[in-house]
Symmetry: C2
Subunit: 203 residues, 2 copies
């Protein structure tokens, strides 16, 4: 028996590797083609496993997709958090608080640009992402709370104001990304207008 003929694959894949691999493959598919591109068979091909092997780890295709969506949403939140953390200035400092809010909007729009597939996927399957802070909405709320602490935002206006603000940013991302405004020559300008509109409204 010759040894060199083929990889002996004497060892099986480490436990949990295939599942994680399928999710990772799904994320790559989503990155390229959005939620519809998360095709179960294609994910198994990437991992190098037979199609039905996926059913050892997921009840069906939707369960895989849901996992991929969660990863995409977490990725968005992580990038936002990273950009927020990059802003210097003590918590409660008015200028810093405003810059942190700006960073939130900018990071959100940037993610929509750079990863349109993941962005679409993050919002494709609406599931409870929990109400923890490491969520786009959680990060926004925190920034708005800081604006109140800093005395920039009137506490009376605070309640519920995260929704219109999220809507502006999200609407801008969607309209310029996949919507009727995509490919407009002044996309950058439109985004700037939206962020300025927010800043203008809060002061």
């Amino acid at each position: 028996v010759s040894i060199g003929e083929e990889a002996p694959r004497s060892r099986r894949r480490p436990r949990g590797d295939v599942r994680a691999g399928l999710v990772a493959a799904g994320v790559e598919l989503a990155r390229t083609g959005g939620p519809d591109a998360v095709v179960l068979r294609e994910a198994t091909r990437i991992v190098g496993v037979v199609p039905n092997a996926a059913y050892r780890h997921f009840a069906d295709r939707d369960e895989l997709l849901a996992e991929v969506c969660t990863v995409a949403m977490n990725e968005l939140a992580d990038r936002m958090a990273a950009d927020i953390a990059r802003v210097r200035g003590k918590r409660g400092n008015p200028a810093a608080a405003q810059r942190r809010l700006g960073a939130i909007g900018t990071a959100y729009l940037r993610f929509a640009h750079e990863e349109p597939g993941l962005f679409a996927t993050a919002f494709a399957v609406p599931q409870q992402h929990g109400y923890n802070e490491r969520t786009p909405l959680g990060l926004l709320r925190d920034a708005l709370d800081e604006l109140v602490e800093a005395g920039v935002l009137d506490p009376q206006r605070r309640e519920g104001i995260e929704y219109p603000i999220w809507s502006i940013v999200h609407g801008t991302a969607v309209l310029t990304g996949q919507g009727p405004l995509r490919g407009a020559p002044d996309v950058r300008q439109i985004e700037t207008l939206s962020l300025a509109f927010i800043a203008n409204s809060l002061t």
Copy 2:
């Protein structure tokens, strides 16, 4: 030869009927299930024609879908225009102008509620809907121009302000309709907040 056996269909369908029927069928499919539900074969089934007959009228499925999207977008614009027209008061009257702007937002959000499938379809295939006025953006621009005429909106702030405003309304529709905020107990409240945010920012 007996006559009563079957409808003799001695007459063909009137010219153009099948094409219009396919579009109408596509619209109904979109109404129920969004853009993905616009299935060429299903449309031909509804019309009562063999599947490939569709190729006498459309190059392919995408061409049918594009037509359906246009109809959906026009439907949105029509409903907005109807609600605007329902607001009384002369053009240029400050209060009337503000109410007309409000009617735009309300109609937009209502359409998203009542016809989620058509709403999604309208924005599924971004094509040039022309720059005429009978378009959501065109109607919004007109309302903002009137606000300037009425002296409510500072002319200096007018340029490009349609984009942030459209974004708020669209973002609210998407987030509460298909997005993470759908099924929230206070969807109505969120929408009210968004519209109030706009009104508040313009005065």
